[in-house]
Structures are given as structure tokens and as C-alpha cells.
């Protein structure tokens, strides 16, 4: 079974602040990590390989420093890694990102399953998985919490939705997005670390992927961020005073007063 895991490098914290004077993101001194949901995607890929044989290829579209995340993925059990990098890909929204990833996946060609994280912790859109699946015209299942089995060209999975759990069967090749309930990622092994060190990670550019220039990067991105700002927390609250009993009495009185209870 040949598995492709899509992985994004993200800032290691979501606690980015906005400089109130210049309205710019302050990202100094923030370390980059593998997007947490993608660590679950990778782990699931490696487990499926261990169960059914085959290989795991990780791909990431990003700047040159994203290679570090790919190397880490090899230390965690991936067999091969490919960086999708070209200045022409920069500034991509989810549509352009998905198009570019789908071109890379088509170039890899021989695959049964693509695994993505449910969402990233920076862009947060959760759109790249479903959009990529659609561009590949393959089966898609979101929010997968367990892979039950893979058999005879079919994959059976559990998915977690608002209302409960579903069991779904999909035809292969398929793309799934995974939630954190799916597994507990392993730590890198010594052998893995050694392998990661010496691994050769190719970079695929626009030329190799034969991408349509009108569909990548900023040009290929219909959405545009025109403004960023800090969220407003406007609420003038009241901390109740007195003994616990007095506080509760006063709370109940206020809630009854405003007919909330």
C-alpha cells in the first residue's frame, strides 16, 4: 500500500501577537514545527505501512526551511520526502495550495491513500484536504478517528462528526483527513534519526510539476487577506464579592433579575 502524507510546517505556537502600533504580526523567535494534526497523519501512514506493507512518502509545499519538517518526518518513519518549493508557489491560498499538491500527487502517481491533517494551527481553514481530493477526483472522508481495515480496493474508517460516529467505506485511491483521536504519535527512533540525517530530499519546482502558472501562488489564489487585527474582547464583567454563599445568592438574584433562569 503506497501512502502519501501531506504535511505543513507551522509556527510552534498560535500565540502570535499583533504589534499595536504597526498592526503587523510579531513572529520573532518562534520555532517552526510539524503541524500537530499532520503528526497524526504521518503516524497513521506509518502504522498502515507496518500493517499492510508498502511505503510512505511525505510531501510539503513551503519555503526551503520546510525541509527540516520533512527530515523530521523521515526520523518518524517516512520512507521518502519531497519538498514542493518554488517562488511561484508563494502566497497561495487553499485553492492554489490544493492544486499544487494535487499536481505533485499525480506526479508520484502510484498511490492508494493520501492522508492529511484535519486542519493546520496557523491558517486553520481545514480546506486543503477536501479541495485536493476534489482536484484528484478521488474518494474523500474527513475527520477520520480510526482506520478499521483496508481490503480489496476499499478502506473502512470511523469518522467523528458533530452528531456522533459514522462508519464509512470508501473506494481506493482515497484521501482522508485525520483527527487527533486516531493515534498517539511515536517518538523518533535512533535509526530514524540517522536515516533522516543522510536522506536526500528533492525539491520539485513549477517546472517539474508542469503547473499552470495561472493556478499557482498569488496569481492562482482567488482569496486575499486585506486586513489583520487583534480580536476584541469587549465585556465588562463583574467579579462577585462576599462569602461563597453570598456570591451564589447574588448570582442567582442577578440571573433571575435578567430572566436568564
Amino acid at each position: 500500500m503506497n501512502i502519501i502524507v501531506c504535511l505543513k510546517q507551522v509556527p510552534g505556537t498560535t500565540k502570535v501577537n499583533i504589534n499595536p502600533e504597526t498592526n503587523t504580526l510579531m513572529r520573532q523567535g518562534i520555532e517552526n514545527i510539524i503541524n500537530p494534526f499532520d503528526a497524526y497523519a504521518l503516524e497513521e501512514g506509518v502504522r498502515l505501512k507496518e500493517r499492510y506493507g508498502g511505503k510512505v512518502t511525505v510531501i510539503s509545499m513551503g519555503p526551503p526551511q520546510a525541509e527540516a519538517a520533512l527530515r523530521e518526518a523521515i526520523s518518524l518513519g517516512a520512507d521518502e520526502a519531497i519538498l514542493i518549493g518554488d517562488r511561484a508557489f508563494a502566497g497561495a491560498d487553499t485553492l492554489a495550495t490544493s492544486y499544487t499538491l494535487s499536481r505533485a500527487i499525480k506526479k508520484i502517481k502510484d498511490f492508494d491513500l493520501v492522508i492529511c491533517g484535519r486542519q493546520t494551527i496557523d491558517g486553520d481553514t481545514a480546506q486543503v484536504g477536501p479541495e485536493t481530493a476534489e482536484m484528484l477526483r478521488i474518494a474523500f472522508v474527513s475527520y477520520v478517528s480510526k482506520v478499521e481495515e483496508v481490503k480489496e480496493g476499499l478502506i473502512q474508517v470511523h469518522r467523528l462528526i458533530e452528531e456522533g460516529h459514522e462508519t464509512i467505506e470508501a473506494t481506493l485511491p482515497a484521501l482522508i483527513t485525520v483527527v487527533k483521536e486516531i493515534n498517539v504519535p511515536r517518538l523518533p527512533s535512533l535509526r530514524g534519526k540517522a536515516k533522516a540525517k543522510s536522506a536526500v530530499i528533492p525539491t520539485w519546482t513549477a517546472q517539474e510539476l508542469e503547473t499552470d502558472p495561472a493556478r499557482v501562488g498569488l496569481t492562482g489564489s482567488p482569496t486575499r487577506v486585506v486586513k489583520i487585527f487583534s480580536p476584541q474582547r469587549t465585556r465588562t464583567g463583574e467579579v462577585l464579592q462576599g462569602s461563597p454563599e453570598e456570591q451564589i445568592d447574588s448570582l442567582i438574584k442577578k440571573l433571575r433579575g435578567s430572566q436568564l433562569i
Binding site: N23, R87, I138, I161, H165
Partner: protein
């Protein structure tokens, strides 16, 4: 489309570096240099006193040409239309009324339409009461099991046929999984999980505001050159505003089974709500967090909820620990709720949790740490030990 620096006129003053919201400008060899990550927002161009920043905008195709009207996807489950559909129609009505149907403006208004797919859909006429001028109703047994493949196929076809300029969808499990596929097929932009919508009436642009970086920043996003402009919108951010006696038209559309096939099959579904009251619809929610310490202590929350006629919610740690099913989780990766009253017990108030409940009308926080961030958004705060406060509240409310 792209950005260039005219190195003849650039003085390396770095004013562009200071204003770039994404931190991608840099001074290299005394000249400005644009790193990967630029979104062409234009802040640098505005700040540059030497006109050294050149943003090449391609002549945009007149995108809105031929696309008219605002659509709301009204999601249903087992025939019941979800509240978010009504919320989006209420906001959609206001947006449609602010847009003239024709640029020349003969007082014609923009049409607001609802689309509902499913089997044995109940109360479709309610969609008119909440503001729809037309309802496209695709009611077919094949659509009963919520197959996203079939939904996507049917929606794409309707959108291609009727060409709306805006499509709004609830940011539910289904919406966030289905709609990206529709947007990808239509090759248009999609903004995720919006918490505010406005209109630039002159340019007929939807201004879509959404949280990113786990709710730490807000971004306003536009889609200029492609139609429709599509957005998923969080449930409970807009209020429902019904009209009485509104007239509208229900248009039944046949589902073309031959046109789409499904690559997935639903084998089984297990609902995992423990309570009868769904947290999405509850007027009062009592939520517990890590401060409860043990699974058996969650009974305290359940008891308080019972005496108040409330639903039970949770922050993420109790779900992670298996004290309560995921369907009770409130927050960025759980549900968004907007009850009249939200009582948070032993919850610190992380941005991810706040993302799911901060628009509640009244928030009560019970926490023994006076510095917990939850107090910053609480209407009423009780600083104290929940193991004392909650039982006492239960007694008083019972009594």
C-alpha cells in the same frame, strides 16, 4: 500578478519592513526584498514614500458579470433544517437589501435564495419566513444518508445553472467538509469559518472576517476575481430574525441520479449525545473543564445542568480524558454555541475554548484562580472552589 521593488528608487529606508503585516519584507544590500509569504495586501506600497513598490494587478475580469444573488445552503439532518441556515438567511437578507440588483439601480433588490438538499425535508417554507425569496428544494431518497459526493454534485450543478454571486454555508462538520469540494470544482475562493460578514456595496465584494492562528488574530478576506464568493460561517454568530407573512417561492428541483455517483458508503451511525438537550440548541449550558479533576466529578456538572434545565458542555481536556463524548466539546475544534447563559466551571478560558462560546449572552465563570483568562470575558465571576460552589448552587436552585 505580483510585487516588485524598483531598486532605482528604493532607498532602503525600511518603512515597508515596519508595516508588513506578514513580516516578509527585508532589507538586503540596502534595498527592499520580498520574501515568500507576501499576500499583496499593499501595506508596503502605501507606506513607501518613493513609489518603489510596484504591485502588478492583472486586469481583473469583470467577475461579477452575470452573477447575481445571494445563496444560503440550508443544512438539514433527518429532515430537520439546522438553525444555522436561518441565521445565515437573516444576515443574508440584510446583505441582499444593501446590494442593488443592477449597477444602474432601478431600486431592484438582490435576490436571496436558500438551497436545501435531503429526503423528506420538513418546514421548507420556514426558510421564506427567515428571508428567502426563493427556496431550491432537492428532496430525494438518495439524499437521505447525507452523502457528500451526491450533495457536492447537486450543488455544483445548481450553482453553475443559476450563477449566484455569493454562497454562504454553515461551518458545521458537513459544511466544512462538503463546501471546499464545491469551491474546488468551481475553482473559486472560499473563506473558512467566518465570524463576520459585510458588503462593499460599490464593488459588490463580500468582506469576510475570520479568526486564524487559533483565534489569536482576525483576518478580513476578499475574493475579487472569481464568482461565486463563498464562505463558511460559524453557527450562532448571527441572530435569527423571522418575518411574519413573508411571501416567497419554493422551487422543487429533481435530483439527477445518473449525473453523480458516490465513492463512499455510510455503513452505520451511532449518535453519542448523552443528554436529551442538544448543546447547539440549548438556552443554558453548564460546562466543565480540567478543574473537575476526575471523571466521577463530572456528575456535579450534570446535576447542576439538570436542576437548571441546561445542556452539558465541556472544554477539551475532559473529552481527551474520556470523561464525556466529543459531541459535548465547545470550542475551535468542537461546537460553537450561543446560549443565553453559559456557566464555565473549572475552565481557564483558552482562546480555543473562547472561540466556541464567547458570543453567549451571559457568561458565568467559576474558577479558583482569580487570574484565569475566563474572567476577562465573564459577565459574572465567582472566584472559588467549584467543589464548594457548585453543590451549594445546586442546593439553592433546588430549594
Amino acid at each position: 500578478m505580483g510585487i516588485k521593488i524598483n531598486i532605482e528608487t528604493c532607498t532602503g529606508c525600511a518603512s515597508c519592513v515596519a508595516v508588513c503585516p506578514f513580516g516578509v519584507m527585508e532589507i538586503k544590500d540596502d534595498k527592499a526584498y520580498v520574501n515568500v509569504g507576501c499576500t499583496l495586501c499593499g501595506a508596503c506600497k502605501e507606506a513607501c514614500a518613493f513609489e518603489a513598490v510596484i504591485i502588478e494587478e492583472e486586469a481583473k475580469a469583470p467577475a461579477a458579470e452575470g452573477h447575481r444573488g445571494i445563496w444560503v445552503f440550508a443544512e438539514q439532518r433527518e429532515g430537520e433544517i439546522k438553525s444555522v441556515g436561518y441565521e445565515l438567511l437573516s444576515r443574508g437578507r440584510e446583505l441582499a437589501d444593501s446590494l442593488q440588483a443592477e449597477p444602474s439601480g432601478r431600486g431592484l433588490k438582490t435576490e436571496l435564495c436558500a438551497v436545501c438538499l435531503g429526503n423528506n425535508i420538513k418546514n421548507a417554507e420556514q426558510l421564506i419566513a427567515y428571508g428567502a425569496d426563493k427556496v431550491f428544494l432537492v428532496d430525494d431518497p438518495a439524499l437521505g444518508s447525507q452523502s457528500e459526493d451526491l450533495y457536492a454534485g447537486a450543488l455544483v450543478k445548481l450553482i453553475q445553472e443559476h450563477k449566484p454571486e455569493i454562497v454562504l454555508v454553515g461551518a458545521t462538520s458537513l459544511g466544512r467538509s462538503l463546501i471546499p469540494r464545491v469551491a474546488a470544482t468551481l475553482q473559486t475562493g472560499l473563506t473558512a469559518d467566518c465570524t463576520d460578514l459585510a458588503i462593499d456595496t460599490e464593488k459588490r465584494l463580500l468582506l469576510q472576517t475570520r479568526p486564524a492562528f487559533g483565534g489569536n488574530i482576525m483576518a478580513t478576506i476578499i475574493c475579487e476575481a472569481k464568482r461565486p464568493q463563498m464562505a463558511t460561517v460559524r453557527p450562532r454568530v448571527f441572530a435569527k430574525k423571522p418575518f411574519s407573512g413573508r411571501q416567497g417561492q419554493i422551487i422543487k428541483v429533481d435530483f439527477d441520479k445518473a449525473a453523480v455517483t458516490s465513492k463512499t458508503r455510510l455503513l452505520s451511525f451511532v449518535a453519542d449525545l448523552k443528554e436529551k438537550i442538544k448543546i447547539e440548541d440549548a438556552d443554558i449550558i453548564v460546562s466543565g473543564g480540567r478543574g473537575l479533576e476526575k471523571p466521577e466529578n463530572f456528575k456535579l456538572i450534570e446535576e447542576l445542568a439538570r436542576v437548571m434545565g441546561a445542556a452539558v458542555g465541556s472544554s477539551r481536556p475532559p473529552v481527551d480524558e474520556g470523561w464525556i463524548p466529543y459531541s459535548h466539546q465547545v470550542g475551535q475544534t468542537g461546537k460553537t454555541v450561543r446560549p443565553k447563559l453559559y456557566i464555565a466551571c473549572g475552565i481557564s478560558g483558552s482562546v480555543q475554548h473562547l472561540a466556541g462560546m464567547q458570543t453567549s449572552e451571559c457568561i458565568v465563570a467559576i474558577n479558583n484562580d482569580p487570574n484565569a483568562p475566563i474572567f476577562e470575558i465573564a459577565t459574572y465571576g465567582i472566584v472559588g472552589d467549584l467543589f464548594k460552589v457548585v453543590p451549594m448552587m445546586i442546593d439553592k436552585l433546588k430549594g
